[in-house]
Structures are given as C-alpha cells and as structure tokens.
C-alpha cells in the first residue's frame, strides 16, 4: 500500500483517475528538466513557494547523470573565482545546507580540509591561496607549517611541506541530500517523472509544450538543469552561448579500514599544468581518491580505465604511503558538465519563458541550494507575475535515514529484520523502506544510493541474489530474470 502512495507522487497524472486528473489539463507553472542535485534543489525551492512544479528526469531515478559521481565535499568557496555567480551560489548553498540538514537528518562530517604543498613551487602558492580565501570572505583559512601538518596528519608521506587549513570544508552524503530536497518538494505538491527524456518542445508565445517519448507536457516556464546535455536541451529554445565540454573524473573508493589514514580532506594545490587529486573520507566511512581530469567528447559513457586507476593508486601512494595495503571496493567515473567558461552559465530568456542553468561543474552539490534561490530571484526579476511566488508556509521536513558511519543504523537499534548486505550493514527493513518511501527506488542504482546495499567491498558476492528476491517486480531493469528457470 505504501508503494502505491509513492507511485502516486511520481506518476499520478497519468496513472490515477483521481482529483489529479482535473488539474492535468492545466499547464504546469514550471517544468524542471533534469533530476540532478541542481534540478532537485530548484524543484524544492519553487514547490516551497507554492509554484506547481514538475521535474522530468530521463534516467530511472534522480542523480542518474553527473550528480551521482562526485567527491561529496561541501565547499566553503575559498578557492572559487572571486565575484563569480559560482562563489555566491556556493556560499548561499553551503549556509542553507547547514541550516536545513539537521531538520532532514542529513549528515555532515565536519572534518575540515588541508591544501597540501608537495614541492617548492606549490609551497610558493600557499600564501596566494590564503589571500584569495580571505578575499572570498572565508576568513578562518590559514597557513600551517610542516610540523603542525605532520601532527594533524601523521599518515601523510614525508614529502608534505606545509598546508593551507580550511576548517569549514565538510563531507556530506551526496545522494540523500538531493533525495531529501525532492521529497520535500513532493510533499509541497511537486511531481516528478522518471524515464522521461525530453526530446523536443515548442513555445506558443504563452506556454511551452515539451515532448517526451510518452507524452506532451505543457508549462509556463522551463528550467533546464540537464548537466552534460545542457547545450542540447538549450537548443530547444535558442542557440546557447556555451558548449558543454564534459570532463571525466575517475575515482577509487577504498575499504573502511583505510579511512583512519587521514583526518581532514587532503586537497591538492591547484596549478594550470598539473591536476592533483583529492583524498577524503566519505560520510559512509570509506576513503575516496580522485578525481582524474580527462576531457572527453562523449556525454554519457563514463568509463573507468584500469591503467588510469593504477596511476591514480600510485599518485595516492605518494600522498599516503600505507594506502596500497588497503582494498579497493569501488571504482567509478563521473562527467562534469564543464563549459569553455569558468563561471556557471545561468541565464533567462525573457521572450521565451526559459531559464538555463548550465555549466554547473564540480561545485554543484555545494551550490545547488544557492543556485535554487538565485534562479527563483532571476525568475521573479525576468518574468514578473508569470510565476507567482506565495509566502512560504511551514514545510514538511522529511527525515532521511542516516547512512553515515557512526550514525545509528537500523541494524544497530534492531528493526526486527536481518542484515542482508553485510559489508554495509543494510537490513531487509532498510531495503523494504527504500522501496516504499515517498520517492521509492525504481532501479538498482536508486536502491543502492538510498540504502548502500551492494556498495561494499564484496560488490554483492553475499547479498545480490537476496536483493534480487527482495526487489522482484520493483526495479527496472531487474537484477535477474524473474520466474522459474
């Protein structure tokens, strides 16, 4: 029964002949294209302001594109380009996250970051980094010497010369946060469609008519948040001034045993010639190493490459000599929707009721809530009364199940069910709840991100068959062919 409620939220306009149908003839106020972290945050912002908002996502779950693969760091913006939209959105997004995360039970690991210099050239850069941070208003950023660095991070190799300390760089759960945003939006009246790829659209002077392969949807305003497809979708309205040039980043996730090797996030000194890698704990208790930075023409195929990963391990070992003794539990690649420009490409087309939110590169997780507020203001300034914002009511605050290391998990308190995924401590109850939640998991990826099932060191050796049984008929594509062999 719970599942039916979840479906209602997602597909009610088509599937159920209830009171929703009477509204289906009305155009939507806003259609947000793209269910990445930015699309989820914007849907939330508009829904909370009483705007009838629909989110369209081409994948089978939110976060099916760039947003599913990042380093999960909540950045202060200390190294962002000064006076950029990016910096403004990051700072606003950062503050709002801290403000609302407690209410939604979203975890934050307050570990801080260290920008570590490994040679004389990098050492010379540190003062400039501190200066820029102060210019960006991050005033607690300071230089620490070699000795202090060693005492803070005894696991680092001897080559570490000094560092810039950024005390308020944090680590978050990159998947629960956007899910919480959309859940709150849905409770405020927004709807969403998965497997709904926008293939085209026409503007009749008043309304947009967007086509997916199943239906035509009408709305007053379109907000394009399609990440790596941003320029393609922008062409539905106009020729974009930017081009998406996807940048691929490959990552390695190490087993939980490795997490104690560091305390803070270890950042590289940025340089135009060498691209360093980040070492950070994840909120789930693993250690993350990456990303590489590779230009690539394709928009979807985020392949990992054995030789590149091997090099990444060597790079990691130069930072943390003990790293290679730990087990790699996952490898992944993410595509950043970078453009030829440094700053975000957020703009409104006043004639055609369209807002493009593009070029949201790796800082999108941090900035998303700030971007949402920025877009709301841009909308009000550009379109006036086209979209009516109501004064905010007291919103519903969804309580997300915390998957963080050290947080109280269902297996610890005991939910009456057995552990199914032993590597990540996921119970049968956890899985059943994710399948019947407000926005239920409809794909394996969605289930993994909601529960962490099959995300551990064994990659499903112990639990995948059991997960296939528990999810029978509920995931597309299914884990296994159903019915008797």
């Amino acid at each position: 029964m719970k599942r039916a409620i979840g479906q209602n939220c997602g597909h009610s306009m088509l599937d159920t002949p209830t009171n929703a149908q009477s509204r289906s003839d009305l155009p939507w106020d806003v259609i947000v294209i793209g269910g990445g972290v930015v699309g989820c945050a914007i849907t939330r912002r508009f829904a909370l302001a009483g705007v009838r908002t629909l989110l369209l996502e081409k994948g089978s779950d939110i976060l099916s594109g760039a947003s599913k693969a990042n380093s999960a760091i909540m950045h202060t913006g200390f190294d962002a380009p000064p006076d950029s939209i990016e910096l403004a959105c990051m700072k606003a997004g950062y503050n709002e996250y801290l403000d609302i995360s407690g209410k939604m039970n979203l975890p934050t690991m307050k570990c801080g970051a260290l920008v570590v210099a490994w040679d004389e050239a990098q050492l010379a850069e540190l003062d400039g980094i501190v200066e820029k941070a102060h210019q960006n208003g991050i005033n607690d950023v300071s230089l620490i010497d070699r000795q202090t660095l060693r005492s803070k991070e005894p696991g680092l190799s001897n080559g570490a010369l000094a560092a810039v300390e950024v005390p308020r760089e944090f680590v978050v759960d990159p998947w629960s946060a956007p899910l919480a945003y959309l859940t709150q939006a849905v409770r405020a009246g927004a709807e969403y469609r998965f497997n709904a790829e926008v293939t085209g659209g026409t503007f009749d002077g008043t309304n947009w008519h967007l086509s997916t392969d199943r239906e035509v949807l009408t709305c007053k305003l379109v907000i394009n948040c399609t990440g790596t497809k941003g320029d393609y979708i922008e062409r539905i309205c106009h020729e974009p001034e930017f081009e998406i040039r996807p940048r691929k980043g490959q990552f390695l996730v190490y087993d939980k045993s490795a997490a104690s090797l560091i305390n803070a996030i270890i950042l590289p000194v940025p340089s135009p010639t060498t691209k360093g890698v980040v070492l950070t704990k994840t909120i789930f208790g693993n250690l993350l190493l990456g990303p590489t930075a590779e230009e690539q023409p394709g928009r979807e195929n985020a392949r990992v490459d054995h030789d590149v990963l091997q090099q990444l391990i060597e790079t990691g070992a130069r930072i943390l000599p003990d790293l290679p003794t730990h087990e790699v539990t996952a490898t992944y690649a993410g595509l950043r929707p970078a453009t030829q420009f440094k700053d975000y490409q957020i703009s409104a087309n006043g004639d055609k009721n369209w807002i493009g939110v593009n070029g949201i590169r790796s800082t999108g997780l941090t900035a998303s809530l700030g971007i949402a507020t920025y877009v709301e203001q841009l909308c009000a300034e550009t379109f006036g009364d086209l979209i009516r914002f109501e004064p905010p009511k007291t919103p519903f605050w969804p309580k997300m199940p915390s998957l963080a290391q050290g947080a109280e998990r269902a297996y610890q308190t005991g939910d009456g069910t057995e552990i199914v995924c032993h590597c990540e401590g996921v119970t049968r109850g956890d899985i059943e709840r994710a399948l019947s939640s407000e926005i239920p998991a409809q794909s394996l990826g969605g289930l993994r991100r909601r529960t962490r099932v099959m995300m551990g060191r064994c990659n499903g050796f112990y639990c995948s068959a059991r997960v296939a049984e528990l999810t029978k008929g509920k995931l597309t594509p299914p884990l296994a062919s159903e019915g008797d062999l």
Partner: protein
C-alpha cells in the same frame, strides 16, 4: 571481570566453523555457540549444489548442502544462531553482535573466527569499462541460480579458470545457460588441466593470455572487449560477466580489531594452532588461507577445536614467538608465527600458495639450518602443505626466523 556468556563462540558456520564446533563438543566443552550472519548455516557449500565436497571426509563426492547437513549431524548438541553478525571484536573475549533485535555485547572465554573467503569482484580488480548490471561473482551466481532460482543473465562470460570458475560453468549448466567464453590471463588454465575438457565439452571457448580492456553496456551488460597477448583485440558479445576466483579472506572484522595482521597479506597473524596475536582468539579456515577445499577446512577446524579445548583446560603456557617468513614467490603462508613452549621441540604443518607455477624443492630453514626439504609441484590457487616440519626450542629461543623458500638452497 564479568562472567562469560559462552565457553567458545565460533564466528561462521562453514566447514571450518562446524569442524571446530564438533571437536570442541567431542572434547566435552558445553558452552559452544556458532554465529552465522546468513539465514542458513553452511558458508559457501550452502550455495554450491554440485558434488564438489566430501572426498576426504566422507570418501565420496556430495553436494554442498548435503555435505553441511552431514557435518551438522556430527555436532548436534551445538547451538547455531543464524541472522547474527559479529560487528566488533574486543580484547578479553568481548564482542558485539547484531541480531534483528539490535546490537549487544557478549563475552566468550575463547573466540574462533571462521569467516571464510570470497572472490575478488570487478572493482577490486580495477577492470576497465562501464558499470552495467549483470557483473557478478561465482558465489553470487550460485545464490542466484541455486538459491533464488533466478538468472541475472542468459549468456555471460566467465573471467578466470580456477576450480571455482568451472564451478561457475557447472552452475550455469544446471540452469541451461551456456556462457559465451572463459577468459584467462595466462597461457593455461589455473585449475587441473582436465577441467578444460569440461569447457570444450560444453562448447565454451577459452581465451588464453587475455585481459579485459572494456566492459560495455549502460544499463545491462552488452559485451566485453579483450586484448590478447599477440596484440589482437576481440569483442565478446555477452549480457553479464562472472568474475571468478582470486579469493580473499573475509577479514574485515579482524582488520577493524586489535588483532595483529600479517603485513604482506593483511590477514590475521596465526600460530601453528591457529591462535592469533590475542591468545583468546583463533582464526581458522579460508579466513587465513583463501581459499582451500571444504574438506581441508573442516579437518583444520577439527584440529583447531581440539587445541582450543586444550587451551581452555590448560591455558597457554609461557612461550617464545618465532616468525615465519617466505620468498616473494609465495603468496601467503599459514601459520605466520610459531609459539614455542620452553624446552620442547614441536612439529608444525605449513600451508602456502604460490603466485606462479613452480616445480622443485621447497626448503624450510630455521636460522641457517635446513629443517625441511621436499620436492613439490606448485600451481597458483592450490594449497601446498609441508608436513611435520620440526622446530626446536633452542633455535626458537635465538629468535631465528623460519624461512620458507622455493629453492634448493
């Protein structure tokens, strides 16, 4: 000091755990419990439904579930607690266990870790490509086919040619699935040669000297690209990939605990009686030497259980610790230390695996003295055992390391 909930708590109900429980029970130990995190006991044999167990113990091949049933009958008085996961190991016999009711702390006089081994999956191997569904391991495959009566694919490729790779072949065959190919890095199969005939009989091509350069497919697996040593590239059409073998000890509970690990293998350090660096904890079976046959593990469990009964009775006497080192060509060796009682000679069995095939003498030296030399034919992924290697107390006291070498010396 609080009292103990159990005399012995065994973690893991595979062949080695059952073996230990049986020996302890036969030695008259009463408070024995076996914790199993799955809903059924048995470990890997639980989901290996073809007859690859029992040749040594029952003198006939029997299926995994029947094997476990038969072993279970030998220790009927022992309590098995399923759906119980050990989450934390502490000193003095304390541990935390999670059951459907939540986590609690219990205490045993002695703990035996028999947590077994698992295969190295796709990510641990850093395999290139996309991340579609349908990428699995033999262990998972068996649970799909035999346990859930479901198939994650209809024409997968098998990576590896260890014994377990042919077990994957057998499992698929029982479901009427003919794999697209088997892929082997080296120039011959890792399992015994006749196994290749089994693949040929089933018309499954084996690609030798091959490595995967790409896994293809966005949602579902679509194919594999492989590079063969002579530079040729081939595309294999398949809708899944089974990564078989390359077993690793499932030692995450041990690794997160106070136990000392062998620095080269990252597996818990154990002595000739499987006692770890903490005299209250033993580690047995494939958790310390991934991965040997079920029968070997059961027999080892029996012997370890007997020792633990003695430890419970007599305690561990004053001893010296001698380290066992080995050549780089040896992948792992168990035991990795020897505890020597004062003024005694002891004879130990040393098991090991090799990285590459080797035929010739295997030599054990205690300090400068050769104490054991035998001719062995060694293949990777097979257990080689040196029996009754004499270790004398005098040498032990000098802290001479024991060194295992793949050479005549």
């Amino acid at each position: 000091m609080s009292s103990h909930d159990y005399d012995v708590a065994i973690i893991g109900s595979g062949p080695s755990g059952i073996g230990a429980a049986t020996a302890l029970s036969e030695a008259g130990i009463k408070g024995i419990v076996v914790f199993e995190r799955e809903t059924e006991i048995g470990g890997i044999p639980r989901h290996t439904h073809h007859p690859s167990f029992g040749l040594l113990v029952f003198k006939r091949p029997i299926s995994g579930p029947k094997y476990i049933q038969a072993l279970r009958k030998r220790c009927q008085s022992v309590r098995f607690e399923t759906r119980t996961t050990v989450t934390t190991l502490r000193k003095d016999g304390y541990m935390e266990i999670a059951t459907p009711k939540g986590v609690k702390t219990i205490r045993a006089k002695h703990i035996i870790l028999a947590t077994g081994a698992r295969e190295t999956p796709r990510h641990g191997r850093l395999t290139s490509g996309l991340r579609p569904q349908g990428i699995t391991t033999t262990g998972a495959l068996q649970q799909f086919i035999y346990g859930a009566n479901m198939a994650p694919f209809s024409h997968p490729a098998i990576v590896g040619t260890e014994l377990v790779s042919f077990s994957a072949l057998w499992t698929l065959r029982s479901a009427g699935i003919r794999p697209a190919a088997m892929i082997e890095e080296s120039s011959r199969i890792t399992a015994y040669r006749p196994a290749a005939l089994f693949a040929r009989l089933l018309r499954v091509p084996i690609y030798y000297n091959s490595k995967i350069t790409q896994i293809d497919g966005i949602e579902k697996a679509r194919g594999l690209e492989i590079e063969i040593a002579d530079g040729r590239h081939e595309t294999i059409s398949c809708d899944g990939v089974i990564f078989s073998g390359k077993f690793v000890g499932d030692n995450n509970v041990a690794r997160a605990s106070h136990l000392t690990l062998n620095p080269t293998t990252e597996l818990p350090l154990v002595d000739q009686n499987w006692v770890s660096s903490d005299p209250d904890i033993s580690v047995i079976g494939n958790a310390v030497h991934p991965a040997d046959m079920g029968d070997h593990c059961y027999i080892e469990g029996l012997s370890a259980g007997k020792t633990v009964a003695e430890i419970l009775r007599d305690g561990i006497e004053d001893y010296e610790v001698v380290e066992i080192t080995h050549d780089a060509g040896i992948k792992l060796a168990a035991p990795s230390i020897v505890r020597l009682k004062r003024q005694e000679e002891t004879k130990i069995n040393i098991s090991f695996h090799v990285n590459a095939p080797y035929s010739g003498n295997v030599t054990v030296k205690l300090g400068d003295e050769i104490v054991h030399q035998t001719s062995k034919r060694c293949r990777p992924a097979r257990r080689i055992t040196l029996k009754n290697v004499p270790i004398t107390e005098a040498k032990g006291r000098d802290k001479c390391p024991i060194h295992v070498s793949l050479a005549d010396i």
